[in-house]
């Protein structure tokens, strides 16, 4: 992410905080699998790192994007360190069904997968499940057809199931 050297005062930094806190918290919370504690820890850590980095380098062009990148990496680190114990015996397909699942379950599952599957798959899962974006919008963003996005989503779900297979009960639980 490009960072421009910009004059900043302590007041500027606090203004940036006030402008971005709700959006950043929502971004993190959607990825925290329903854990308010995790969402607050990650949000706080992202701002503390920002204050240190911005004091050194100046404010970036888009502080929210900067904070989101840091928060996303912090979450990825968190999920990389974590075993998938929450999903024991669970049905991944049901958890990934937008109509029947609850947000926390899907969030935890998708975030855990985001840390481990390919970026290509992770991005499409993230957009669809965490940012609640319709297939049409995702297709426009990445410049492919809606059908191609649906294909990617299907393959990403298969990749996630494959990842969880050795960790979630027996094979029967997964199918």
């Amino acid at each position: 992410m490009k960072t421009q050297q910009r004059e900043r005062s302590p007041e500027d930094l606090i203004l940036v905080y006030r402008e971005t806190i709700e959006k950043l918290y929502a971004f993190v919370s959607r990825r925290a699998g329903g854990s308010r504690e995790l969402a607050e820890d990650v949000t706080q850590e992202a701002y503390l790192r920002a204050m240190t980095a911005w004091a050194r380098q100046g404010l970036p062009d888009c502080p929210l994007a900067w904070l989101q990148t840091v928060a996303r990496n912090l979450l990825l680190n968190h999920y990389r360190r974590r075993q998938p114990d929450r999903f024991d015996g669970g049905d991944v397909d049901a958890a990934l069904d937008r109509k029947t699942s609850n947000g926390a379950e899907t969030g935890a599952l998708v975030c855990w997968g985001l840390a481990r599957i390919s970026t290509r798959h992770a991005r499409v899962l993230e957009a669809y499940y965490l940012d609640d974006r319709p297939v049409r919008d995702i297709a426009e963003d990445i410049g492919v057809s809606e059908r191609a996005v649906e294909g990617r989503l299907r393959r990403a779900r298969v990749a996630l199931r494959k990842l969880l297979l050795p960790h979630v009960g027996t094979e029967g639980d997964m199918t």
């Binding site: 606090i14 609850n102 609640d132």
Partner: protein, 306 residues
């Protein structure tokens, strides 16, 4: 998503107070600190310029010497070694600067530590390469010839440059082994990652064994317990044997992966094209293993011959 993603006002207030306090501390610190140089990028470009200039000077020097002093090959060789050393040093500095920058990004949370591990290892390799090139220059200055890296090279000026270069190589491998060990001990690794780490650990162990064996052979030559021909043949035999062992281990690993993939295909969790890719990989490693076996047989025939 059915959750509300609004922050708790108490949390928002608490975090704001904490940030204000952090900013105040930073301001106090900055007031007593000299202004930081905008060094990163500038230094990197300076290093590139120095590297290119060094190469240019080295090449120009080499060309001039060739024209004027055709008979004095030694000067040419030394000039070339020095130019290569300059370039290796400049490359080392560039890597160090880049590494520091990346480590800063890790501290800021923009990169994960794992993303920088590969660069740390590369930096160790580049650093060792620069040290080896410095040894080349010293050797060329003594001998007036290109560095001799064969196990049967004589000592020059009382120094064993071959062993010194091997020890540098070993130090980098030790660092690589430590890094692979660290990565392999991360919690929550999947079976595939564990297998990949095990293969990498085995590859590093094999490489360390080859270097250790070469250091021992070199010592035998210096001590006079084996002739030059004996140690060169032993060196060849050992490295071909190691290639074969590594290839056999790889075949076993890919075989396991292939079996797993076939199970996934049967359960509808992997496509046939994915399984086909693993089958192709398996065929390739089997061919590599067969090739290593043939190499070994050819060498044994040669050693048994008149």
């Amino acid at each position: 998503m059915t959750l509300h993603h609004q922050p708790d006002p108490e949390f928002v207030g608490h975090l704001e107070r904490e940030l204000q306090s952090t900013i105040r501390r930073q301001c106090q610190f900055e007031n007593g600190r000299p202004e930081r140089m905008n060094g990163g990028r500038r230094l990197r470009w300076t290093t590139v310029f120095v590297a290119l200039a060094a190469m240019g000077i080295g090449s120009a020097a080499t060309f001039a010497v060739t024209q004027r002093l055709a008979a004095r090959t030694a000067h040419l060789i030394i000039a070339r070694s020095e130019a290569i050393l300059e370039f290796a040093n400049a490359r080392k500095e560039m890597f160090l600067e880049e590494l520091r920058e990346r480590e800063g990004l890790v501290a800021d949370g923009m990169l994960t530590s794992q993303e920088v591990d590969a660069m740390r290892l590369e930096h160790a390799q580049v650093k060792a390469d620069a040290s080896a090139r410095a040894l080349d220059v010293e050797e060329s200055r003594i001998t007036g010839r290109d560095p001799d890296n064969s196990l049967s090279a004589p000592l020059f000026g009382g120094r064993d440059f071959v062993t010194e270069r091997l020890e540098l190589e070993r130090a980098v491998l030790a660092q690589r082994a430590a890094m692979v060990e660290k990565l392999a001990s991360r919690p929550g690794l999947f079976q595939q990652e564990v297998s990949a780490m095990a293969m990498e650990q085995e590859a590093v162990r094999a490489a360390v064994a080859v270097v250790d064996e070469r250091i021992a052979l070199r010592q035998d030559y210096i001590d006079g317990t084996r002739t030059a021909r004996q140690i060169e043949l032993a060196d060849l035999q050992f490295s071909v044997g190691r290639q074969r062992e590594t290839a056999e281990l790889r075949v076993a690993e890919v075989q396991k992966h292939l079996d797993r993939m076939r199970t996934l295909v049967e359960g509808g969790l992997a496509s046939r094209s994915e399984a086909r890719q693993v089958e192709i990989e398996y065929r390739a490693v089997v061919l590599q293993r067969d090739l290593a076996v043939l190499e070994m047989q050819i060498l044994e025939e040669k050693l048994a011959g008149p």
